[in-house]
Symmetry: C2
Subunit: 320 residues, 2 copies
């Protein structure tokens, strides 16, 4: 657990138990693969946002626990489906679930986890929760597919990039921030602030994730540096470098070329870094963080507010 | 459209329009891939069952159209996710969506279609519809994963087989038969008969599908004969032959072996057929059909009842 979440330590512990309980009765292969997923950890960011958002009005853990578990299950499902790899991409970058159980299990296990989340969401009287998550799940897929459609396309625009990351990341983080408040019956003004906070935090989060893919060391992020580049996914620093680097032609050739071995990817990273693309992307991420902070300025001063502020500040510094 | 569905011709035409409308605003890659799926056709069996079930009580097309579209979208989603192939299986038997757009698009497109279905289901006041489909989607994945877990396992029991096909096929067909009735406010006795009818029809449907995979010619079923065998999926006639054929050792060797070329698969089919496995499976399918017919015996004599009876009879004869 991130130290930042000390205030919701008890809730996050309950969440772990509930996650295990949800998957307890499953068949052996499902249980094995999903236990693997639960133990692989993750920051439980979405449930944490859900608890924090809920704390602004009439909070009780029972009101939001099913939702929090559902959010983490949807997140896990999307990770597992992300593990599904095209054979052409498989060779150098094999993700975990797929590498152990194969594409077919990844595909059906994701559906299983998603189905379990639907069962939990169906326990809520308030139909807005289900409707919102249905909308978001469509947009998450649209974001992912938009990203796939843009693979290796050198002329990708900022607009495409922001559209894609909003769909694949920001909307769902936004939902996590405000649906907990809705489940506790918070007033419109409260949940709308949380919704906007979440959207901006989500954008910042994905941009810094994309930065880290280029600059962090493998040990820290748990995957090889440049894995986006290797898959032809063109992120914000890359868009900047393709436009502004004095070695942009060289970079373009690497991205559109077939040789994406370690040496080539390292050279591409170096071009992007020396172009100033990282600072550029970081600047934009910081602007989103500031917008997020601004959105919750007028919310009541409960302890959760200060945690949300710390999360925002944390995103600002996490890449360096 | 199957001639059997003449009575719901208008509804099925409306369904096609609604399917197209649902996917009309999508991004180009999604639209292209899902238009491909819609045009690939399919019998629209699940929406047809939904309309037919709805006709027993207070029917109007508006009450069930969103549900009918959602059912077809869930079915399409499951087909697309089924297209996701492990590299080890890819070589000889490449399904359509995966073969054109790759595993990653298949994975996200399935999620997209599923998400769209959730949006339609969320339009219903009656929460039982969403709850039932959430339950079923979990069980569908469980059925698929159980089947994957049993791949190449020669000691597969009848119990495993029936568990797997109930989850992956029968439950969802059952839902299609009775949720339309629920959406129209049918009394318990009516929708429970339809539910049981659907479950039995679904079992019979999957068993005959498994038979056809062994005996029908490629042109008729649109895929090479023996594709289950090639993937190590052990179906009812195979279970029978592995127990009763006088060439059971030879069959076992082919199934567990690495050479699953055309010649080997043809030899396996021949062993299964000459063992009497087809007649055995057919007999069980017929029993399910009779059970299905029995379940709706006391329903009111509306025209939809006679269509449901014809569908049942049709399943009895479709393999020969």
């Amino acid at each position: 657990m991130l130290a930042i979440f000390n205030d919701i330590k008890a809730e996050l512990q309950m969440l772990e138990n509930e996650l295990e309980k949800t998957l307890h009765d499953a068949d052996s292969l499902i249980q094995e693969a999903s236990t693997h997923l639960i133990n692989a950890g993750g920051k439980r960011l979405r449930p944490a946002f859900c608890f924090l958002g809920a704390k602004f009005h009439n909070y009780s853990p029972e009101r939001v626990m099913n939702l929090a578990v559902a959010l983490e299950l949807i997140h896990m499902a999307s990770l597992v489906h992300d593990d599904v790899v095209d054979s052409s991409v498989t060779r150098r970058n094999i993700p975990t679930v797929k590498s152990i159980w194969g594409n077919k299990v990844s595909s059906h296990l994701g559906d299983y986890l998603f189905g379990q989340s639907l069962k939990l969401i169906a326990t809520y009287q308030n139909r807005d929760i289900g409707k919102t998550l249905a909308d978001t799940s469509v947009k998450m897929s649209e974001g992912e597919i938009a990203q796939l459609a843009a693979v290796n396309q050198m002329d990708q625009t900022l607009k495409n990039y922001f559209y894609s990351i909003k769909g694949k990341t920001a909307l769902f983080i936004s939902d996590s921030c405000y649906l907990g408040a809705i489940a506790c019956g918070a007033p419109v003004r409260t949940w709308q602030s949380l919704k906007k906070y979440g959207n901006n935090i989500g954008m910042a989060f994905q941009i810094t994730d994309d930065i880290m893919d280029l600059v962090a060391d493998q040990k820290r992020i748990g995957k090889p540096v440049g894995s986006d580049l290797r898959q032809g996914v063109i992120t914000l620093p890359v868009i900047y470098a393709l436009k502004n680097s004095n070695r942009k032609e060289e970079l373009g050739k690497i991205i559109s070329g077939n040789d994406k071995g370690i040496e080539m990817i390292e050279r591409a990273c170096e071009i992007i870094i020396s172009s100033g693309g990282i600072e550029y992307a970081d600047e934009i991420a910081r602007k989103y963080v500031d917008k997020a902070l601004n959105e919750i300025k007028y919310l009541p001063d409960v302890p959760a507010k200060s945690t949300l502020e710390q999360v925002a500040e944390f995103i600002k510094i996490r890449n360096f």
